[in-house]
């Protein structure tokens, strides 16, 4: 079973986001991690490989520093990796990212393509769907359980507060939701072995990907407004309870 996992490097979930003077995100000193949803996908791929045999190939797009996250996936147990590192690809342009990933995934046969359902930085959830479209593959989103057998995948997925069980023929794209598994940490031995594993660095041109001009331009980021101070209701209990009820009804409009 040949499994590809698409992963993105993101800010650490603990990172405090700061902006530069011109409204761009200040990445200085920020710890970078594998997007946690993609980490579920890596773990799932490894578990499937351990059960069914085959190979896990990690695919990513981004600047040279993404190598560190890709190496982490290799240290977890993935077999090899392809990283498209090309300043011509705008990370914020999901159409370009999907176009590049599609080229990599078409360059060799895969039975299954996994990724997280969303990245925690831009929360766009765009790339897997675009990829499915470009590769003309079925896609199942937000999987919490994946079973493979008889050329099919039986996937339990989250759907509007309920779960839904879906069957798709392989190859397919399946995206991971929290709860799918608990990712392993790379062992020290895994980290040592990862150094010797193949990590292929490519440009968009190497893949023959037609990018065109980026269709997305980030004008400016802004931080969410600071939380407003609460309101304190003073007075006798009877009066303050009445006032609380009035405010909840008329101002907060929750009762």
């Amino acid at each position: 079973m040949q499994i590809a996992v698409c992963l993105k490097q993101t800010f650490d979930t603990e990172a405090k986001i700061k902006l530069t003077g011109d409204g761009q995100i200040d990445s200085a000193g920020v710890n970078l991690i594998i997007n946690p949803y993609d980490e579920f996908a890596v773990e799932e791929a490894l578990r499937l490989k351990e059960k069914l045999g085959g190979e896990v190939v990690v695919v990513s797009v981004g600047p040279a520093q993404v190598q560190e996250s890709v190496r982490q996936a290799l240290a977890m147990g993935a077999d090899r990796a392809v990283l498209v590192s090309d300043p011509a690809v705008a990370p914020s342009d999901h159409s370009q990212v999907a176009a590049v990933l599609a080229k990599v995934l078409q360059s060799e046969p895969f039975d299954l393509i996994l990724s997280g359902w969303v990245a925690i930085d831009d929360n766009a959830a765009q790339v897997p769907a675009r990829l499915a479209e470009k590769l003309n593959l079925p896609q199942v989103n937000m999987a919490v359980k994946i079973e493979i057998g008889g050329g099919k995948a039986t996937v339990t997925r989250e759907a509007e507060g309920a779960t839904e069980i879906v069957e798709v023929p392989l190859p397919a794209i399946i995206t991971a939701q929290k709860g799918l598994n608990e990712p392993r940490y790379p062992s020290l031995k895994g980290i040592m072995q990862a150094k010797k594993k193949e990590l292929k660095l490519l440009t968009a041109a190497d893949l023959g990907a037609e990018l065109g001009a980026s269709q997305v331009k980030i004008l400016q980021y802004s931080l969410p407004p600071a939380r407003q101070a609460g309101k304190k209701i003073e007075g006798e209990p009877v009066d303050s309870a009445r006032e609380l009820a009035r405010l909840l009804r008329e101002e907060a409009k929750v009762i």
């Binding site: 560190e68 940490y185 062992s187 020290l188 031995k189 980290i191 990862a194």
Partner: protein, 379 residues
């Protein structure tokens, strides 16, 4: 902490994540209950930490002290108790690696490397602390082996560990009358005393180890008869370097908490970190951490390259323990009244730090060693 090597950075990242998930949430509870959890040690085994110093041919990773010190500091920055547990395990494995016969290495090292077996070091006795050579646990010849009688005290991992390197007296000669053995928990004649009720590192079991007519075959003797003192002294350098790394970790943990608190706590309408009095304490902690890190790294480098390191190990051990004590004290001070409460981790760092000025050769003994080396020409 700044680490240049990418592989070491990745390893520390793994250790940090493990500690954050599997140790940090339970640190206070395990301290309060004085509870050692083997499953945490097993997690160390799964990641390969237990075999970090063991040669590759025996299933270890052979990464040396340059890496072991970083790993130990990382663990100790969350829990000094679990750092002690793995440090003592390493010491046991290192002694078998250095002095064991091929059969002993084959029998014990692969399982110590995987963490299936947990190791310990059994040297101290009620009347043999700093003066280790005065130990009295007797090993008398019988058949093709020895009969052991006596009591070891303050054994870290005591009762929890499976394999012990224990030191005994085979003749009256002060130094050449000492002999080391590999002892397994569960052998007839081996038992353990009650769990000691300690001030700090409470989640690491400390017990006395009692030998009552315990028969040990000669095949379990570590190195030659009468060479035990040499075994102990040879391992001390490594033990002290790791000890220094452990206390560096305590100082780092205290520093992290102190900085966090100084950024959050407000008095007189501003963050307490804005006051110079607090800034001075923070800076003192930082200077202690950075100087210790440099001293430990140099000692580890020398050890890994087979250079003489006895004085360096003593400098590192002594200095680091004092730095950790002061860092923990400053961190409590910065926390004010809250620092005295168990809800904040600095209270535990403060209690944990103290033992390291005492154990593995008191800081006074270290000064004696350092001065002697200097006077012998090692300036």
């Amino acid at each position: 902490m700044w680490v240049a090597d990418e592989q070491q950075r990745a390893m520390l990242d793994t250790v940090r994540r493990l500690c954050d998930r599997d140790i940090r949430p339970y640190v206070q509870e395990m301290d309060e209950k004085a509870e050692f959890r083997r499953e945490i040690f097993n997690r160390f085994g799964e990641l390969g930490l237990t075999g970090i110093l063991i040669p590759e041919e025996y299933g270890g990773l052979e990464l040396g002290y340059s890496t072991s010190t970083l790993v130990l500091a990382e663990i100790a920055s969350v829990s000094a108790a679990y750092a002690v547990s793995i440090m003592v395990h390493w010491l046991c494995a290192a002694a078998i690696t250095t002095f064991g016969t091929e059969d002993q290495k084959q029998e014990y090292l692969p399982r110590l490397a995987s963490g299936e077996l947990m190791g310990a070091w059994s040297l101290t006795e009620p009347n043999a602390g700093s003066d280790a050579a005065s130990l009295r646990t007797a090993a008398a010849h019988q058949d093709d082996g020895y009969i052991l009688n006596g009591t070891k005290s303050f054994i870290s991992n005591g009762g929890a560990a499976d394999v012990y390197v224990a030191f005994t007296r085979t003749s009256a000669d002060r130094y050449s009358g000492i002999t080391a053995f590999i002892i397994e928990k569960g052998w007839p004649g081996v038992s353990f005393g009650k769990k000691e009720n300690k001030m700090g590192i409470r989640a690491c079991d400390t017990r006395s180890m009692i030998f009552e007519d315990c028969y040990v075959p000669t095949s379990k003797r570590l190195h030659e008869e009468g060479q035990g003192f040499r075994v102990a002294m040879t391992m001390m350098d490594a033990g002290r370097i790791n000890n220094a790394a452990l206390t560096l970790g305590i100082a780092q943990g205290a520093m992290r908490e102190a900085v966090k608190y100084a950024q959050e706590r407000e008095q007189f309408g501003k963050k307490i970190g804005d006051f110079q009095g607090v800034q001075f304490m923070l800076a003192d902690i930082k200077v202690g951490v950075e100087t210790t890190a440099a001293i430990v790294a140099r000692a580890a480098y020398k050890k890994d390259h087979g250079l003489p390191v006895t004085a360096d190990a003593s400098v590192a051990k002594m200095y680091s323990a004092d730095v950790a004590m002061r860092a923990a004290e400053n961190a409590v001070q910065i926390h004010g009244g809250y620092g005295y409460m168990k809800e904040y981790p600095v209270e535990q760092f403060f209690r944990d730090a103290k033992i390291f000025q005492i154990t593995e050769g008191t800081n006074q003994i270290q000064r004696v060693i350092i001065a002697k080396r200097m006077l012998q020409g090692e300036v």
